[in-house]
Amino acid sequence: MTQNGVGALLISLRKVTKTYGEGTATVQALNGVDLDIGQGEFVAIMGPSGSGKSTALNILGCLDAPSSGHYLFRDIEVDALTRNQRALLRRYYLGFVFQGFNLLSRTSAQENVELPLLYRGEDAVHRHDASRRALAQVGLTGWEHHTPAELSGGQQQRVAIARAIATQPLVLLADEPTGNLDSKRGHEIMELLVSLNRDQGITVIMVTHEPDMAAYASRVVRFADGNVDSDSMKVAA
């Protein structure tokens, strides 16, 4: 696991299951998943609808807790954490990008990007500098004071990425980040993610159903019926 500058083991899922609903209406979304991800990897998770790929991403992102099994993030046993402890894990180590952007409406790009820094307790000067820097990284210098309604879809997703990386997280989790964008904007976003992975060593885990977007990743994990179906590493060109 040292290929493509991949470092130490970061994430480890062991026999993770996730069950939704109760009684006869239960749905087994994950069915004993084992998955290891090393630091600095760019992983694409693919699979048909209902294969459990989004559930897996939510568990990896500590947005959801597994029903059983173990999740080790670095040396932390995530399955044993409380709601608030998982929130703190998100705050200090994880960044999220969603298909629907999920920006605060009527709020400037800069204030959106500042938000996670605010919850980290950063002071105003640092918040300002870090959010400006993150917006510059995604190519949105000059757009700091525009609200989401004044930005295109691609630009909104860039703001969301800036918000995710402003805190310099270890892992960037992206759930269909190009799903709401046309193909040209989609490729731009993917190139941005690749550069963040390559230049800053941020681990990127992305759910997608588009093969040409998954092609940007260094590793593709395919899900089927709540479990890992195939796991292929791209050979360095």
Binding site: N58, L63, D64, R83, N84, A87, L88, R90, R91, Y92, L94, G95, F96, F98, N102, L103, L104, S105, R106, T107, E111, L115, P116, L118, Y119, R120, G121, R163, A164
Partner: protein, 405 residues
């Protein structure tokens, strides 16, 4: 901890700013509710106080004797015989509990001084009137005995008449033209202000009763008798004595009903202030409904925005906010809006009460109780409806909150 509070405050203020319309409507609901309740109750209190002030300005223990039966539906008051000065003398002489008995006969006439003229009520009476009506002489004097017995053309005027006819000049010794005669102003009454029915009590000219009978009405009639009782006299007993004496003097048979009536002014005033208290209660109830409607308005606005807020809470939780941090922000937001609305409401009510009481010549009685009550009530509504949906949303899984439709 301090840092967290500061952050929550910053986030709350940002939320208020970016949802200006929602914030404005929330505040407006509270402003209207608080403002209406306080204004209504304050004005009602002022009106009640005004009437009770007038009770004392009427003179204590005042009875009024008038010809005709008690006023009321189906009763005939016209046509009954009026009184004579001999009746007044008899009342004074035979009922020891009466301190002052003043006959009154009135006529509305136009008064002229130089080029000024003014229509006013001229009342013929005697010196007992000042005692019975609780009037004080501000300048000059009351009538002298020979003026009363001879019916001389002298008068004592009220403050409104002085203002209208003499302006800033001293009226004493001035000559007042009344119809076809001229009378000399010998005294000026101290101002009393508005009466219980809203009439101007100072718009009055007093003359010896014989003067009015001879020169204005041309007969011996006395239309009303004002009777002031001594302190400690039993009102019911005195009224019975007056009734008995008058029946006797009017030669009424056992089977005949009274053709005169005696009113207790204190009782009238008390009935009146009781009515005003009822009106205040009614207005207060109407205003309370508006406070409630304001509350429902706030509730609606908050519930309509619950989808957006739930998603917002999902975003905050996903990027690392703790549940209690989100709640603190929403609580501060609700408190700031409610307090702002409450304060604006109180300020507006204060200004409105100040203006309206001045306009209606009422005393302005600031009532801390109702201000506090209205404020607390609106604050509770604002906080409950602002905070409760947020509490529910913050307890959701972030992923559920994010997908909330």
């Amino acid at each position: 901890m301090n840092q967290m509070l500061l952050n929550a405050l910053l986030l709350a203020l940002r939320a208020i700013r970016r949802n200006l319309m929602r914030s404005f409507l929330t505040v407006l609901g509270i402003v209207i509710g608080v403002g209406a309740v306080i204004t209504m109750v304050t004005l009602g209190n002022g009106a009640t106080r005004m009437v009770s002030d007038q009770i004392s300005s009427l003179g204590s223990n005042l009875l009024i004797l008038r010809p005709g039966q008690q006023l009321g539906p189906g009763r005939e008051s016209a046509g009954a015989a009026t009184f004579r000065l001999t009746d007044v003398e008899a009342l004074q002489a035979q009922i020891p509990s009466l301190r002052a008995v003043a006959p009154v006969v009135g006529s509305r006439v136009t008064l002229v001084v130089g080029s000024q003229n003014w229509s006013s009520q001229v009342s013929g009476t005697n010196n007992a009137y000042f005692t019975a009506g609780n009037w004080k002489i501000a300048a000059g004097r009351s009538f002298e005995e020979d003026e009363e017995t001879a019916g001389k053309a002298v008068c004592v005027i009220g403050d409104t008449v002085r203002k209208q006819l003499f302006g800033s000049a001293s009226p004493l010794g001035g000559e007042l033209r009344v119809k076809n005669f001229t009378c000399v102003v010998v005294g000026l009454l101290a101002a009393k202000g508005q009466g219980a029915m809203g009439q101007d009590q100072d718009d009055v000219v007093l003359m010896p009763i014989r003067t009015v009978q001879r020169r204005l009405t041309g007969n011996q009639d006395v239309s009303t008798v004002m009777l002031s009782m001594r302190d400690g006299a039993n009102t019911d007993q005195v009224m019975v004595q007056i009734r008995r004496l008058m029946r006797e003097r009017r030669k009424l048979a056992e089977s005949e009903e009274d053709n005169f009536n005696v009113m207790d002014t204190k009782q009238i005033a008390e009935t009146l202030s009781g009515t005003i208290r009822t009106m205040t209660g009614l207005l207060g109830a109407v205003a309370a409904v508006s406070l409630l409607v304001g509350g429902i308005g706030i509730m609606n606005i908050m519930l309509v925005s619950v989808t957006e807020r739930t998603r917002e809470i999902g975003i905050r939780l996903a990027i690392g906010a703790l549940e209690h941090e989100v709640l603190l922000q929403f609580l501060i937001e609700a408190v700031v809006l409610s307090a702002l609305g409450g304060l604006i409401g109180i300020t507006l009510a204060f200004v409105a009460c100040l203006g309206l009481t001045a306009l209606m010549n009422m005393p302005f009685l600031f009532n801390p109780g109702i201000n506090l009550l209205a404020f607390v009530f609106s604050a509770v509504i604002g906080i409950v409806f602002g905070y409760m949906p947020a509490r529910r949303a913050a307890s959701l899984d972030p992923i559920v909150a994010l997908r909330y439709e």
